[in-house]
Amino acid sequence: MKGQVIVENLKKIYLSKQRTGLFQSRTTEVEALKGVSLEIKAGEIFGLLGPNGAGKTTLIKCLTTLLLPTSGAAWINGYKLTEEDNAIRASVGCMLMGERGLYWKLTGRENLDFFGALYHLPAGERRRRSSEIIQRLHLEEIADRAVESYSSGQKMKLAFAKALINDAPILILDEPTNTLDVPSARELREIVQTLNQEGKTIIYTTHIMLEAEILCERVAIIDRGEVIAQGAVVDLKQSLGREKVIRLEGVISESALRAVEQLPGINRAALAMLNGHNQLTVVTAEESNLLPRLIETLTQHQALLQRITPEEVTLEDVFIAHTGRTLADNTSLQ
């Protein structure tokens, strides 16, 4: 399948002015993107991961035409960046600056209607879309109140609603769960998944790796303006060459062990006695669907399971393996 978003060797260099005296200043070049290349397929949720200051937002701003790249090329929905900018803007629904991108004196509905007009939707269509989105995001109760009276989470939700107003084939969401509480973040992720199932291509930036693992099929990890790893989440984890270890504790018989050993994808399995009960350690190279099959096989062999401790490779491990740093480190370019 041809990529819906193709980025080729995109570079962005800022000129940063620093004051050195009352009338003196020094201009320095800051390379925010050092030749980024990506291909995002139609209908996938693609994660852009990286710590704060890695260059994710700069990349997004370039792709949404807010910033002009210094060199390189990109095609969004088949439209060439810098040459067909309006077509790109129309093809993308974007949630970029969180709650700041809204008119606070206007109500939520008025905001949606206004942005709908800027996407050239006819008045009737705007009203219909606004109501539909308000309903979908459960914003009915606050939709007709001025945004300034919203809580931080409600504002984020409305900003998300704004990104949906033009019903664009591509959605770009920049850290959309920032400032959301846990249930709201979960709800938003569910909506993102539904939108994806409806056919939307989603570019999702986050610095929370777990979030990316839950949502994304493929990811690119960005650090200091460079893509340091890119691919399917499973592949990236496997690329580390680490095997996955699952520990199961309870009453487990030898026959259960032998049944487990017969399962496809099992590299090693071992049974040990531990504090009066058995511990089965399973080593596997396979990521998906193993645990349910494992539990099913064990229960068929009359095993009583008390605790299951999977030790999975996480995307955070991938990041650490590539950079030698954890995600908590700020790699801001400034």
């Binding site: 139609a42 008025e110 007009a117």
Partner: protein, 285 residues
């Protein structure tokens, strides 16, 4: 998944977007009713200052002295026209020149630049809002002022006066747009706009004919469209005399401004806009 193909907006769609921008701003300001009342009171108080001063100092000779200096005995209407065109100019400066800055400060600038609506369309919407507010409050203040000071507001050629205001608006907005582009690059835009509105008021002869200014200053003043606007309105209503003797000649000058200044304004604006996109980005300041 259905194919998404972009169709450039029709004129109707652009107009719709511009009107949405106007509506947004009007809704926004309707939530500050005190501000709207102030916009009517300010020119009234402002015009009253020189009037009261003149009345008190010149006594019975006020009208006669005023006619000798300006060409009309109706100093009330003269001052009210000055103060109200000042309202229109201030309105243009604050709404148009400060527009992008304001959006930058509130954080909505990037939101609107993410949409396929061009800045020209948005700007027309902003200018329309400014015109409705500026001209609206100027007219209301003018009529209230005439009522308070008991003079006839509708003497002379009212239609020609209106024509001067309407034709003068576009060059005025172009001028403020040009200034807005500069303001976008400067941190203290507030102070600059504040100063600029007074400079233009002085140059356009807010309470006096520009003939009393030194020749060089007069020439600079004539380069500003508001100078032609204010003199056109005063000449049409009060007969103080057009710069070129006939109303259509003065109006022709405004038309020339109208045909040239928008391009200059847009050209400079686009340059600054691109410059921002090339560098730190629209949202930064």
């Amino acid at each position: 998944m259905r194919e998404f193909v972009y169709h450039p907006p029709t004129f109707r769609q652009k107009l719709d977007a511009a009107l949405a921008e106007t509506r947004l701003r009007l809704i926004n300001i309707s939530r500050y009713p005190g501000q709207l009342v102030m916009e009517i009171i300010i020119p009234l108080v402002f015009a009253s200052m020189p009037m009261l001063l003149g009345r008190a100092t010149a006594g019975a000779d006020a009208a006669a002295n005023f006619e000798a200096n300006t060409g009309t005995t109706n100093y009330v209407a003269y001052m009210l026209i000055g103060a109200n065109i000042f309202t229109i100019v201030t309105s243009a400066f604050w709404h148009v020149a400060y527009w992008l800055r304001f959006e930058q400060e509130t954080g909505t600038l990037e939101s609107i630049y993410l949409t396929p609506t061009s800045s020209v369309t948005l700007l027309s919407g902003v200018a329309l809002h400014s015109a409705i507010r500026g001209v609206g409050s100027a007219l209301i203040a003018y009529f209230i002022g005439c009522l308070i000071y008991r003079v006839n507001p509708l003497q002379g050629d009212v239609l020609i006066a209106l024509l001067f205001i309407l034709v003068g608006l576009i060059p005025l907005y172009s001028l403020t747009l040009l200034f807005g582009a500069v303001v976008l690059k400067v941190k203290e835009s507030n102070a600059l706009i504040n100063l600029m509105q007074w400079v233009v008021s002085f140059l356009m002869g807010i309470f006096f004919p520009i003939a009393i200014l030194p020749k060089v200053v007069q020439l600079i003043a004539l380069a500003f469209p508001p100078t032609w606007m204010i003199n056109g309105v005063r000449s049409a209503l009060l007969g103080v005399g057009f710069f070129f003797g006939e109303w259509y000649l003065d109006l022709a000058v405004l038309w020339t401004f109208l045909l040239i200044t928008p391009y200059v304004g847009m050209w400079v604006f686009r340059r600054v806009e691109n410059n921002l996109r090339r560098n730190e980005g629209m949202g930064q300041f």
